[in-house]
Amino acid sequence: MGAGRERAIMTLSEFFYMDGYYLYVWASYGLALVVMLALFISPVRRKRQLLKQLGRKKRRGQRL
């Protein structure tokens, strides 16, 4: 039991250690995550902004 648990913990730290290449591997995956998430979120925010602008334009038009 104990040995099994120890081995599981070892594997997890081994997983993060990446044979010593953790810095390069995780930096690559982290960078990809940040860039691709940002590229996904930016049009979502842009759309919200656009719709707000359109609303303003509409109201302005009604006043005139």
Partner: protein, 246 residues
């Protein structure tokens, strides 16, 4: 067929068509990414030479493939805009640029992060790396040129020419590892030649990640395109109706 294309060329139809497609690409992206990441990081064995450092391949190669693929989509849409003057293709070409730039940046950055432990250097001015850097500048140049014009139609003509001329760079990138002596390793996956330098246990997660990146590209492309349509058509009645609906 031709009728369907002409119908799609109207921005209103294009907007709703993109909206219908969106979930069919967004959800598979998420699932494929999760499967590919688990397979690539956990299931796939370590490389006998490069150990675990090779796992960067699951980001690096799909990103590099996409950097070329997105450029071809951009150039073909640009050509369509020049020939048929279709607005929807202008929108698609414009939306490709930021996505392609992001993929190119990722390919260069992860390549650098892989090159440091394997080659001992972050950067080398060799054919593959330099031509890929030129690709990044092409994308950035496209974006800069596009914002330099007040009128969208004039901008589209100028950027289309840039995009089409830039296509020369694509075969240079692709064949650079064969034409010149370079630090970059030769192609690992050669589908057409049927030669396979990669073990199946690593090839499968690579292909899953490559598919995930393709779906991701279409998802983001649709989102960017829809925004540009809303912007261009902001004066029309249907956009106001769409705003009230949302």
């Amino acid at each position: 067929m031709l009728q369907a294309i002409t119908k799609l060329a109207s921005l209103r139809n294009f907007y709703f068509f993109c909206g219908k497609l969106l979930p069919w690409f967004a959800w598979p992206t998420l699932i494929l990414m999760l499967v590919g990441l688990y397979w690539g990081l956990v299931e796939a064995p370590a490389d006998y030479q490069q150990k675990d450092s090779y796992r960067i391949i699951f980001i690096h190669v799909p990103a590099a493939w996409m950097s070329l693929f997105v450029y071809m989509v951009m150039a073909m849409s640009a050509a369509a805009s020049l020939i048929w003057k279709t607005k929807a293709s202008e929108v698609v070409a414009n939306s490709c640029a930021p996505v392609g730039a992001a993929f190119t940046f990722l390919a260069l950055a992860t390549g650098s992060l892989w090159g440091k432990p394997m080659w001992g250097t972050w950067w080398e001015w060799d054919a593959r790396l330099t031509s890929e850097l030129v690709l990044l500048f092409l994308y950035l140049g496209y974006i800069a040129l596009q914002s330099a014009f007040e009128d969208k139609r004039t901008a589209a003509r100028a950027t289309a020419i840039l995009a089409i001329v830039g296509v020369v760079n694509i075969p240079i990138i692709h064949y650079s590892v064969e034409w010149w002596f370079t630090l970059h390793q030769g192609p690992t996956v050669q589908v057409l030649k049927g030669k396979q330098a990669m073990d199946t246990s690593m090839l499968i997660p690579l292909m899953i990640m490559a598919t995930a990146f393709k779906f991701y590209f279409v998802t983001v492309l649709l989102m960017f395109s829809r925004n540009e349509v809303l912007e261009r058509e902001s004066h029309t009645k249907w956009v106001q109706e769409e705003r009230e609906r949302l």
